[in-house]
Symmetry: C2
Subunit: 192 residues, 2 copies
């Protein structure tokens, strides 16, 4: 898989990668153990310094790796990854140690960061946990500061999404329930 | 404005109103003082009991009313309300006491709840604050438990969104930046 389309995103613009409410994939690695799960409950939390939040249930393997490593990556999957996204949100690595192979996940790394990124996504935010024991235990809520952000320049450039000019396969996924998602649709502009 | 399409949503399904990441309007009332602002940073937090989170900046009038009353309503605006949504997110009632009139907002109330709802939206979640002083001060993050939920049955029924069968004017808005939004698009289903 080629990564030639991947371009860095200024950290102060990283919130725009999540602003339109896409479902994300959460990845994490501790030692040699890496994993990925789907998450609809991810959100931007602060512009500068860029922060995000994500809900990670106590039953997930991904949460264990996030807690062990102190890092997580949020990445935005696209229509081409619909089945993979569903599977990453259905299978647990606690039940299937070969989860990533079975889901067809290919990982890569940026620069000197040890957090894994999922190939074929359209945006990535590598985040360092801000420890919040109450939020983590009472609400399963993890807050992270964004330490690196990248996007696929075919759909995100100059600080904006450009879905309308790109192939449908690159549209973000917005989860409903079961196996049902919506694709992001048409761009509209307020004229006031 | 007719409210004949509005149907209650089971609280355990209320998260589905936010799951696909729409931009919301946040309304609140204290005594006779009511207000509405736009918020892209709202998210579901728990299925049961249903909980949500929303980021409310310290500079907003809406936050003052939320803190004073202990309640907020999240509602999902639609394409027909594009300009109103932009304006509600640009003008502060602290600067313009006639903000709601100037933005064309019409409010209504459900049953015995004193939280105002914005007419013409496609879903509403009335929420009671779970007091979290640290989250509110450090992260501007408000957590609420959902005490009532309703949706426009033309686009949400049987626990699912049905955007594809409804007029485009009823599609949810997904904020990017400036005056630019995307409409929610096409429904797709994982086949695995
Ligand atoms: C589209 C989708 C979105 C999901 N969103 C979340 C979420 O926001 N938080 C969460 O804890 N689980 C969420 N899940 C469930 C996890 O992805 C699921 O439990 C997964 O199997 C955990 O994998 P793991 O144990 O290998 O980490 C979602 C599932 C799907 C299909
Ligand atoms: C589409 C959109 C989304 C916004 N999202 C948020 C948000 O999530 N949190 C926030 O504090 N402000 C957000 N804002 C800014 C507030 O809506 C804005 O400050 C508003 O004027 C506050 O109004 P008030 O002072 O009358 O309450 C957003 C603005 C727009 C246009």
């Amino acid at each position: 898989m080629s990564h030639s389309y991947i371009a860095p995103v200024e950290l102060e613009k990283a919130y725009r990668l999540l602003n339109h409410g896409p479902t994300v994939l959460v990845s994490a690695q501790h030692g040699d153990d890496c994993n990925v799960m789907a998450a609809a409950w991810a959100c931007a939390l602060e512009f500068k310094p860029a922060k995000v939040s994500v809900v990670l249930d106590k039953s997930t393997k991904t949460r264990q790796l996030v807690e062990q490593s102190g890092y997580f990556t949020l990445q935005v999957p696209c229509y081409a990854q619909l089945n993979m996204t569903k599977q990453l949100g259905t299978i647990s690595k606690l039940d299937d140690p070969q989860k990533l192979e079975h889901c067809g996940v290919e990982l890569f790394y940026q620069e000197d960061l040890s957090s894994p990124l999922v190939s074929g996504c359209i945006a990535w935010l590598v985040c360092k946990i801000i420890p919040e024991p109450h939020n983590q235990s009472a609400h399963d809520l993890f807050i992270g500061s964004v330490v690196g952000a990248w996007a696929d320049s075919r759909v995100f450039r100059d600080g904006h999404w450009h879905f309308q000019d790109a192939p449908k396969e690159l549209r973000s996924l917005h989860y409903i329930a079961g196996g049902t998602f919506y694709l992001i649709g048409e761009e509209v502009k307020a004229d006031i």
